[in-house]
Each structure stands twice: as C-alpha cells, then as structure tokens.
C-alpha cells in the first residue's frame, strides 16, 4: 500500500494522496456551485490526513486559485462572469483585507484575538443564515399569493433596489449582472466584506457571494461566477505571499487541483440546472454547518466539529451531483426526443 502515499518534499511527510484528490474534488464541486474558495472546508480535511498545519493555509490558497480559475472558465462560457463588476470589486476587497489584517494584529497585541475572531465569525455567519432563509420565506410567501413578478421572477429580499437609488457619480452599468448603480456601491460592499475576510483570516467568498446578491443585486448565477473570478485573483496573490513565507507544499497543490478540476466542472455545470433559490438555500445550509462547527471548536469539541464539516461537505457534494445528474439526463432525453421528431431542442427549465 506504499503507492497510496506520496512524499511531500517540503513538508517532509508522506500523505495519503487519494485523500488529497478527494478534498480537491469536494471543494471544487461545492466551490463551483456556490462561488467560493472553500478554505473553511479544506482545513479539517487536511488535518485528518495528517497534513502539517503550518503549510495548510498556503497550500489551500494556491489550490483555491487554480480551482477558481477552472470554475471561472466554465462559468464564463455560461455568461455568469461580470468581469467589470469583479475588477471594480477587487479594489475594495484588497483594501478591505489589508485593513482587516491590521485590525486582527491590533487585537493580537491586546491579547484576546482568538475568541473575538471566532465569535465575530459566528455572528456574521448567523446573519447570513438569517438573511438567506428570511429571503426564501419571503419569496415563497409572494409566490403563494401570486404577487407581481419582477424581471427575474419572484424575489424575497430586494435591499439592492434601495441601494441602487444612491446617486453618487460615476454611475456604471454592469451588463452581465444587468444592474446600474454608483461605482462606489460595489467598492464599498467589497471593502466591507474584505475587512471581514482579512479580520477572520478567510478568503471572503462566504460573505461576498450573498453580498453580491442582496446588496449589489446580481442574479444568483452571476454572483457565483463573478465571485469565483475574484477568488481566483485574490487566491493567486495569497499563493504568492504564502509561498514567499515558505508556507506552501507545491506537490499537494497539484494533487488537490487534479481532483478539483473534476469537481469544479460538476459544481459549475450543476448551476445550470438549479434555480437561484435552490443555490441560495443550499448555501444557507452550508453556512449553518460552518457556524455550528466553529461554535463546537470554540468549546474545544474538535472532533465533533470535524465530523459536522466533513458530513456537510459529503452531503452537499451528493446533492450537487444529483442536481447535475438529473438535469443532464433530462436535457439529453429532450435533445434525443427533439432530434427524433425533427424539432429544435428546448433548453430545460
């Protein structure tokens, strides 16, 4: 069974490489579907494989950059990436991350950074969970009362409409997202999510994706694709800085990336067969699992925390694969029927 273990030349350990491929596959699937890097999923997985934690974040950052590149390429072909919006938001994100990092160093000097960071994380995750499920219940209520539909169908929370009325020039039109707003709106939103990300030491996709939907007003699928574009760029920057500090294991990056390549395609193509609210609700469930896991870790229940995260990852992967399987089966069946009857195949809803 020695062939199942790969020697990591920098970390100096032998790692079970199928585990790395599986982690890459899972994170690729979930990241491609929700539009985030998924660092919060990778660390428990690497911990279980015995991967040295000193290299975990840097290795993960590089793998996420590569995986997001693959997902972005696929999402771009679907027309889900608004490059203009993504590049504008990068300004705010990068500045915000640096400010957040300085804040955490300030708390480090005060000596109480751990609990502050963890409870801040929990509070904001709880806020996202509340927002997602409140939005869903509102949308369902509107649909059941046959309320008038907007151009995207029935929507629950529409805070972005109020924010779009802010008239601070320059006003910009983002064609792919189908929105017109002040340039300062995406910059401010991405700055705030960047501060959170820098403070909490995460990539930020977990906050940026719902911010793109609820505060900027991008359709869910465009929010997913555009966020992945940002994750790709910030991930490459993160990979560079962590490599410079010697905190990266390149062999592990490439092994995980191989698994992520398959997962990213599955996750991304599955968005085609999912409605926006399906993606949002599943995202809400993922955030609940993340929040519960952090609370457990805060009270030193590390093993149950890992079980919760890994269980959630497994279930989400199966859910996404099922969406792809059923959607693809139906599309190919309709295509076959259309070809045999001599009509043009319709796109499945």
């Amino acid at each position: 069974m020695e062939w199942l273990y790969l020697y990591m030349p920098i970390a100096g350990v032998n790692i079970f490489w199928p585990g790395l491929v599986l982690i890459g596959f899972s994170v690729g699937t979930i990241g491609g579907f929700f539009g985030m890097g998924g660092a919060w999923m990778v660390t428990p997985g690497l911990n279980i494989l015995g991967f040295p934690m000193a290299f975990a974040i840097g290795t993960d950052m590089a793998h996420i950059a590569g995986k997001s590149m693959i997902s972005t390429m696929r999402h771009a072909k679907f027309g889900n990436v608004d490059y203009k919006l993504g590049l504008i938001m990068l300004i705010g994100t990068m500045g915000g991350i640096e400010v957040g990092a300085q804040m955490v160093m300030h708390f480090e000097r005060l000596g109480n950074v751990g609990p502050v960071v963890r409870w801040t994380y929990v509070i904001f995750l709880a806020l996202i969970v509340w927002m997602v499920f409140y939005d869903y219940s509102k949308a369902r209520k509107k649909k059941s009362t046959h309320a008038a539909e907007g151009e995207r169908g029935v929507e629950g929370v529409t805070w972005y409409k109020t924010l779009h009325r802010i008239n601070i020039p320059p006003m910009m039109h983002f064609k792919v997202a189908g929105i017109t707003c002040s340039m300062w709106l995406p910059i401010l939103v991405s700055f705030l999510t960047g501060v959170l990300a820098g403070f909490l030491g995460i990539g930020g996709g977990l906050f940026r994706m719902p911010a793109l939907i609820y505060l900027i007003g991008a359709p869910t699928h465009v929010a997913v694709g555009t966020d992945l574009f940002e994750v790709m760029i910030s991930g490459l920057y993160g990979a560079f800085t962590y490599s410079l500090k010697g905190r990266i294991e390149l062999v592990a990056v490439f092994v995980m990336l191989t698994g992520a390549a398959i997962g990213a395609q599955i996750g991304t193509v599955a968005t085609k067969y999912a409605k926006g609210y399906g993606i949002r609700v599943a995202f809400g469930m993922a955030v609940v699992a993340c929040m519960v896991s952090i609370i457990l870790k805060q009270f030193k229940f590390d093993d149950p925390a890992a079980v919760i995260i890994l269980g959630a990852i497994g279930l989400l992967c199966l859910y996404i694969i099922a969406i792809l399987w059923n959607g693809a089966k139906q599309e190919l069946r309709e295509k076959k029927l259309a070809l045999s009857s001599g009509t043009t195949p319709q796109h499945p809803e």
Binding site: Y7, P9, I10, A11, A54, F55, A62, H63, A65, G66, K67, M69, I70, M73, R74, K77, F78, N80, L87, I91, G95, E98, V99, A101, Q102, M105, A139, K143, V154, E155, G201, P219, T220, H221, I233, L236, Y237, A239, F240, T241, S243, L244, K245, G246, R247, L250, V251, F254, L257, I262, Q265, K272, K275, G276, Y277, A328, E331, L332, K335, H347
Partner: protein
C-alpha cells in the same frame, strides 16, 4: 487594446496590496529546510532546492505553475465536458 488594459488592471489589483502602507505581515515566515536527500526526482529536487535557496523565485514559480496547471486542466475538462453532448454555453436565469 481592451485586453491589454484588462491585463494591466488585473496585475495592478494583484500587486496593489503589497504597496499599501496599511498592509502589514499577516503571517510570519516559516523557517523550514526541505530535505533534498530524500527527493529522488529531478524536478522535485530542483523545486526543493529553490525553496531552500531562493524563496522569491520559488514563489514566482508557484504562482505561474498553479495558474498554468489550472488553465490546462480547465481546457482539458472543457474538452471532456463538451463530449457529453450538453449545452454548455447557455443557461436560464431563474431565481424562483
């Protein structure tokens, strides 16, 4: 011209954080020496040596290789997925 501006914009966005005065060290440098005695493969030995002797070049290679490998896998998977017969160029934006 538009592509060139886009590339310059992306490069600046990646480099900008390192130039910000507010930017500080988020994580400390890890002092580890890769044990090249256990590395038999030529290319792995080269990168292990580079990690030990030239962190800057190692970092550049790490980013370049990650980007290149990511792009390569993207193209390969794109090729495989198009063989499935699915329409991979369009989708409907349905929220509910």
């Amino acid at each position: 011209m538009r592509r060139l501006i886009c590339c310059i914009w992306i490069s600046l966005s990646v480099l900008l954080p390192s130039l910000l005065w507010a930017g500080g060290e988020k994580t400390s440098t890890l002092v580890v020496v890769a044990d090249t005695r256990r590395v038999s493969s030529g290319i792995l030995r080269y990168f292990a040596d580079l990690y030990n002797t030239d962190p800057w070049m190692f970092a550049v290679w790490a980013v370049v290789l990650t980007a290149v490998y990511g792009a390569f896998l993207g193209v390969v998977m794109d090729f495989i997925m198009t063989r499935t017969g699915l329409d991979l160029k369009s989708r409907k934006l349905i929220e509910h």
